[in-house]
Amino acid sequence: MNDMSPIAVQTTLKDWETDQEVRWCPGCGDYAILKAVQRTLPEIGADPAKTVFVSGIGCSSRFPYYVESYGFHTIHGRAPAFATGIKLANPELDVWLVTGDGDGMSIGGNHTMHLLRRNLNCQVLLFNNEIYGLTKGQYSPTSRLGTPSPSSPIGSVDRPAQPCAFALGSGARFVARGFDVSKELPNVLKAAHAHKGAAFVEIFQNCIVYNKDVFEDFAAPKGAEASQLWLKHGEPMLFGNQKTGPIRGIALNRDHLHLEVVDVPDGDWQAAGVIVHDVKNRAIAHMLVEMPFGEFPMALGVLYDDPRPTFEEELLGQDAKANAGKAPDLHKLLAKGQTWTVTEGGPDL
């Protein structure tokens, strides 16, 4: 979030739309994410002049052109580095980074890692469609094993990366998940913005052309309650709907230190051993992001949120402290060290 942002500014969704024609494929999940962001920005009182969207390369990275704020469409995978320069140059700017699974996990994995471990105060939105869209459908670092694609006609053999696990492993202090058409997405974005520091949000996004409906197992409205675990701080980890099926929950197997799904008869989640979500519990967060879907529901919402000082505070704060009381004097700087004077008559020794 942007503590240093001045007074909240009054805007509407319309104020965040540009005059540029949106060029994603009809039906692309990016439209829904764009709307969710444009809906969120007025609600958090964001100022278009102090807001910067930075992106790399890929379908998702066209995003800045469609948001009426400052925007920088940079080069493949490097958006985190540009964001770092922007934020260090002007910490008042509210920086949103838009990247994809190829941009942020593959070519830019290194920069994503370092931005997260440094804890630059910004929001990182990683649109994960598990495919390379802009280059016409090759498998990506998050594609599931066996994904057929133009570059893997009989199925990919690379094991997929898990963005949220990567983020936690890199030292991220905020990790959340959502998906393109989810009504909850603006709330996730708001929480990301409210977090001071690097806020990592994985957004599952449907690529209608090259990887259609790959998230339908949990994103489809039908059966959503049984397949989605929306995490809320202080609340038990429950999912399911009494009308259509059983209520179940997530419990911690303390003997073998893993999570498991338990039935919750008669709503007595305590008796069933269901755990209460604590956004500051890093160990549980690691387990939540690793839960295999199918056996488990998809963990969504804010999985982890435990702020610590930001990179720009630390770096610029250290500079300010070191500079305190020093008057910059260029002449003195240039004449540093041992000097000698030469006079008209030769050197003055």
């Binding site: 540009t18 540029q20 278009p48 002049a49 102090k50 910067v52 930075v54 800045p64 052109y65 009426e68 704020s69 400052y70 925007g71 920088f72 469409h73 940079t74 080069i75 490097r78 985190p80 580095a81 540009f82 964001a83 770092t84 320069g85 922007i86 260090l88 140059a89 002007n90 008042e92 700017l93 290194n110 920069h111 890692m113 370092h114 770096l315 610029l316 500079d319 070191a322 500079n323 020093k326 008057a327 910059p328 260029l330 002449h331 700087l333 240039l334 004449a335 540093k336 060290g337 041992q338 000097t339 000698w340 004077t341 030469v342 006079t343 008209e344 030769g346 050197p347 020794l349």
Partner: protein, 652 residues
């Protein structure tokens, strides 16, 4: 005594003649012997004595090469005297060899009749074996053509620091100060500045300061005694007559750092420096972290790419973005530099060149990144290139790079090299008030009709406005995709690409209008032969042309700072000469640019051994244009065994 004359081609002076004009001293020892420190302090004392000087530090790429080995030898050469000094000197007059390996790798370079000072304490059986000597050269007469002063510096040092109760290893570390003391005596130097420096350096450990000072004094005292016994002789070199003013010594890395700070100040901007450690460029990052009160933010990035990207990001947010590296790192930055060109944001890129390709010669010097600087990006991606000729010149060049970057909204490449970065020379401390400021004006209001914003509206020089992210009402989007005229909106259309390609090129070409005409730094502005150089070849070219002119040859020296765009008058200037010779520490890159731009028959003189040119090599090449022999002009200079880095050291 040593025959001490810098001008090797002047008549041999009588052996006990009076004062020489200039002297070349080379300190050589094991990497752990502190030779660079000794050289550095001797340089300081030389500067304080008012002599002009140039230095050449040479050290192994390995951090801790095995002790006593040929490839572990570290050397420092200094050329100083009472005349203008522009090179580190061709052949040394004095060699200080701290062990057999140092002697073996360097003695071949010593002038006949020169003086060897050797530490016999290190000429043990083991060290001789490591240096691949079967018999000690001190005893077998193989050093007969030089004056040899061999004595046990190790034992003398141990003796001198005895009262301080140091361990044997620590005590021996004072050897370099003992040697420095002797050198100070030889050239009648004041010890006090070194004493002050030692007291400061070891202020947390006064015993070490005392011990080092004692060793320094002992070495100095030894000179008095040895004079009676042998070839050692006290020499006094008259101070050089230089322009009045305040002086100090400066290395290229320091000068670049100061120039960048001064440039940002002249632009009225804070500076953002993104860097990643790489030899020999890291010194700039190390310097700038100590200058943060001048509005400098430094960022040690995760890699070269992140370093340049962060700098471009900072420029987008209104600071002067700067990044620095050496060839391999510049290669990694290429795509981002292209984005800087495409989005037309200011950026200064410093390339401290080293030998390439790939990892190449990390600690040796070369000028082989000129093509990379001028042409090395995808697409038609022109950017201005400025090259420094010496450590002191690097200051002005850095300011010039900043000026071009902010006044033309473009990335600018500043070329130095490993030699310039590490070498020191006396520098007349400039008065910052004398540089013309070039204050930046960011766009404040919408600049298009009907209250619209046109981020890519060009002025009469083809320059777009700089819009600082965060400015109210000026929100806009930029990126690497081709853009429409004025609005900068995405536009792939044929007309947009052609127009913008032409506009980017015309803008960079137009920089030539803001740079001074090319001058002739020595000789006539037309005639038989022009020797055209750029970068750190300035010293040897200048001396070679001076000497050949003194012999009556019609030869001039032209040294180019603005590599791209070239000065507007350079073409006509070169056409006023019958022949053109371009000495370069590469296979002929600038030669190609000159041929391409002006259709002139420039001949290359290539040197690719990682060693700077000697004066004699360039003199020979000049002579080849006047000897009437057809087709022998220019060519390639072979690796030189008399020069640093020593061939034997690299390939024992």
């Amino acid at each position: 005594m040593a025959t001490i004359l810098a001008d090797s081609d002047s008549a041999a002076a009588p052996r006990d003649s009076a004062v020489p004009e200039a002297v070349v001293v080379r300190f050589a020892g094991d990497s752990g012997d502190g030779m660079q420190l000794t050289g550095g302090q001797f340089t300081l004392s030389t500067a304080l004595a008012g002599n002009d000087l140039a230095t050449f530090p040479d050290f192994p790429a390995e951090i801790r090469a095995p002790q006593g080995t040929l490839f572990g030898v570290s050397a420092f050469q200094i050329n100083f005297g009472s005349t203008d000094i522009t090179t580190a000197g061709d052949q040394p007059d004095v060699l200080v060899a701290m062990n057999p390996a140092a002697l073996k790798t360097n003695v071949g370079a010593l002038k006949v009749g020169g003086l060897i000072i050797a530490d016999t304490g290190e000429f043990t059986k083991r060290n001789l074996e490591k240096a691949k000597y079967e018999v000690s050269p001190i005893d077998d007469g193989s050093l007969a053509k030089w004056d040899l002063l061999a004595f046990d510096i190790s034992a003398l040092t141990l003796e001198s620091v005895k009262p301080f109760g140091l361990g044997n290893k620590e005590a021996l570390r004072c050897k370099n100060m003992w040697t420095l003391g002797l050198a100070l005596w030889m050239f009648e130097r004041d010890r006090q500045p070194i004493v002050d420096w030692l007291n400061d350096k070891f202020k947390k450990n006064p015993v070490l300061a005392e011990a080092n000072i004692a060793a320094l004094n002992a070495g100095h005292a030894y000179g008095e005694t040895a004079e009676l016994a042998g070839p050692l002789k006290k020499l006094h070199l008259e101070p050089v007559a230089s322009e009045p003013g305040l002086y100090r010594t400066v290395t290229g890395a320091e000068a670049v750092s100061y120039g960048l700070v001064a440039g940002a100040q002249l632009a009225g901007l804070p500076m953002f420096f993104g860097g990643y450690p790489i030899t020999p460029a890291s010194a700039i990052l190390h310097n700038l972290v100590k200058m943060k009160e001048f509005g400098v933010t430094t960022f040690q990035a995760e890699d070269e790419i992140a370093a340049v990207c962060a700098a471009i990001g900072a420029s987008y947010a209104g600071q002067l973005g700067v990044t620095s590296s050496s060839g391999p790192g510049i290669a990694l930055k290429g795509e981002a530099i292209g984005l800087g060109i495409m989005t037309e944001l200011p950026l200064v890129i410093v390339n401290s060149q080293r030998g390439g390709p790939s990892t190449g010669l990390p600690t040796k010097t070369e000028q082989s990144d000129l093509y990379q600087a001028v042409y090395g990006r995808n697409g038609d991606a022109p950017l201005p290139v400025v090259a420094a000729r010496s450590p002191a010149d690097a200051f002005e060049c850095a300011i010039e790079a900043c000026r071009i970057a902010v006044t033309y909204m473009t990335p600018v490449m500043l070329l130095t090299d490993g030699y310039i970065a590490n070498a020191a020379e006396p520098w007349k401390v400039p008065d910052p008030a004398k540089f013309a400021p070039f204050p930046v004006e960011f766009l404040r209001d919408r600049n298009g009709p009907d209250d619209t914003l046109l981020p890519f509206k060009r002025d009469d020089r083809g320059v777009r406005p700089w819009i600082k992210a965060g400015t109210p009402g000026l929100m806009h989007r930029i990126g690497g995709i081709e853009k429409a005229i004025d609005t900068g909106n995405i536009d792939y259309s044929p007309l947009a690409h052609q127009t913008q390609t032409d506009a980017r090129r015309a803008k960079v070409d137009g920089v030539a209008e803001s740079i001074p005409d090319q001058d002739v730094c020595l000789g006539n502005s037309s005639g038989k032969l022009a020797v055209v150089g750029w970068g750190s070849t300035f010293g040897p070219i200048h001396q070679a042309v001076r000497r050949m002119r003194a012999k009556g040859y019609d030869v001039s020296h032209v040294h180019v700072r603005h590599i791209w765009p070239l000065p507007a008058n350079l073409g006509p200037l070169l056409k006023g000469f019958d022949k053109i010779l371009v000495p370069e520490m590469n296979t002929g890159q600038f030669k190609t640019v000159l041929r391409d731009q002006f259709l002139v028959d420039a001949k290359p003189l290539a040197k690719t051994s990682g060693q700077p040119f000697t004066i004699a090599e360039i003199q020979d090449a000049i002579a080849s244009f006047f000897d009437g022999v057809p087709n022998n002009e220019g060519g390639e200079v072979d690796a030189d065994d008399t020069q640093l880095p020593s061939i034997k050291a690299v390939n024992p």
